[in-house]
Amino acid sequence: MDIARRVIDRVPAAAGAPRLTVVTPQRGRGAMPTSEELNELVRAVATNGDRQAFAVLFKHFAPRVVTYLVRGGTPPASAEELAQEAMVVLWRKAASFDPARAGVSTWVFTIARNLRIDRHRRGGGAFDAGDDADIDLDAHPDPAASPDDRLDARQRERRVHAALRQLSPEQARVLHLSYFAEAPHAEIARELCLPLGTVKSRIRLAMINLRRLIDATEP
């Protein structure tokens, strides 16, 4: 049975996929495709141009990418347009996606982030966080690369997820706002009732703690 069918059967949110329409995905952990399933879906897009697999990926990611962009200050109409563009990039680059390098969610995050960066600077990329930033870095492997650099993506993502779960709710919030908010410092100060001047040290503390948790997690 093909991957799109299997995910659709297991994940109610993907049910509308074959009709090529978008329903609001269901919340809840049971309704999420696993990272292995996401890898398989991307592989199906890469090898067979599988539109159903793409539809499942679209349903999962496009609405989340829109949330990411809108929270970051992109107007809703452009956010939807940009999310579509991100999914077009996913389709085009599916063949170069390497699950040993990054998980699909991480890959989609970097695509969306880089498109937003490009959008903000129409004059041409000043620094190398363009469309291919992640691939670019890998295209020039450092001979002195630490073993860390080549750590399998699955291990890395497991450690990151485990660390995020162990973070205190407040530090998890700090991290979330740092990535998603339009004005992270102001929003962190407001939500956590902190003087603006102390936000920076709160972010620093959250990062130190996250680092400690990631490093403490067994691969």
Partner: protein
């Protein structure tokens, strides 16, 4: 051996697209040649991926998927046309035409790159940016202002200081980021070699001295008001526009 790295908060800000262009190019210039920080950035990208998974999904227009598929079909057709056109050229021809898609460095840029010491690698994060020709700043001191392609207002510059000379002493109320591109300096506490990165806030009144044995070239970005000590340094301050 790189010993001085950006901290996780700064790398996170890069991964989360939270840095202004000046700090971003300097931090990216470090990561390009630091496997350690690239590994960190991959983790921080993975944090972004995990947060994306947790995001509340927005409700899209009902035809969003159909529109995206239409865009894919349109771009696939264009791709086939391009491939066909490329196929008509000899192999070397198509490779050259592919290379010509990247903006060629301008004559001024080429001249500037030729002025750099042999063996010094030019950061890819500065691709498309224009450094002014080296300007005299004092005996053994030269500097170049770097105009970023999309952000001419960013305070990014290169300092080129001869062996044994001090960098212009200054204080600042923002953050100053420095990436050593070539040579080495000593800030009184520690040595910074090519590849090393330094973040200084206004509390540090520093006057790094270039190590004997060779000149030192640093890429720096400064935020906030900067106060230089001494006459020469005040010239730099006015030239950099602060």
């Amino acid at each position: 051996m790189i010993r001085h790295h950006p901290d996780d908060a700064l790398l996170m800000a890069l991964a989360a697209d939270r840095l202004a262009n000046g700090p971003a190019v300097v931090t990216a210039a470090h990561a390009e040649r630091c496997a350690h920080c690239r590994a960190r950035l991959r983790e921080l990208d993975a944090v972004g991926g995990a947060l994306l998974e947790l995001a509340e999904p927005a409700v899209l227009a009902p035809e969003a998927l159909a529109r995206t598929l239409a865009r894919i079909d349109a771009s696939d057709t264009a791709q086939v046309d391009r491939d066909a056109a490329a196929g008509a050229l000899p192999a070397t021809g198509s490779r050259e035409s592919a290379a010509s898609l990247a903006p060629a460095p301008s004559r001024a840029e080429m001249r500037f790159l030729a002025s750099l010491p042999v063996g010094m690698s030019w950061p890819r994060s500065l691709r498309g940016s224009t450094p002014t020709p080296w300007r005299w700043l004092g005996p053994g001191m030269r500097w170049s202002r770097v105009s970023l392609a999309d952000d001419r207002a960013a305070n990014v510059f290169l300092l080129r200081i001869a062996a044994g000379k001090s960098l212009p002493a200054h204080t600042h109320d923002g953050i100053e980021l420095t990436q050593v591109l070539h040579g080495a300096f000593h800030d009184g506490r520690e040595r910074f070699d090519a590849g090393d990165f330094d973040e200084a806030d206004g509390s540090i009144h520093h006057q790094p001295v270039v190590e004997p044995g060779g000149e030192c070239i640093c890429l720096a970005s400064v935020e906030g008001r900067v106060a230089f000590d001494g006459r020469i340094a005040r010239v730099l301050g006015s030239l950099v526009g602060m």
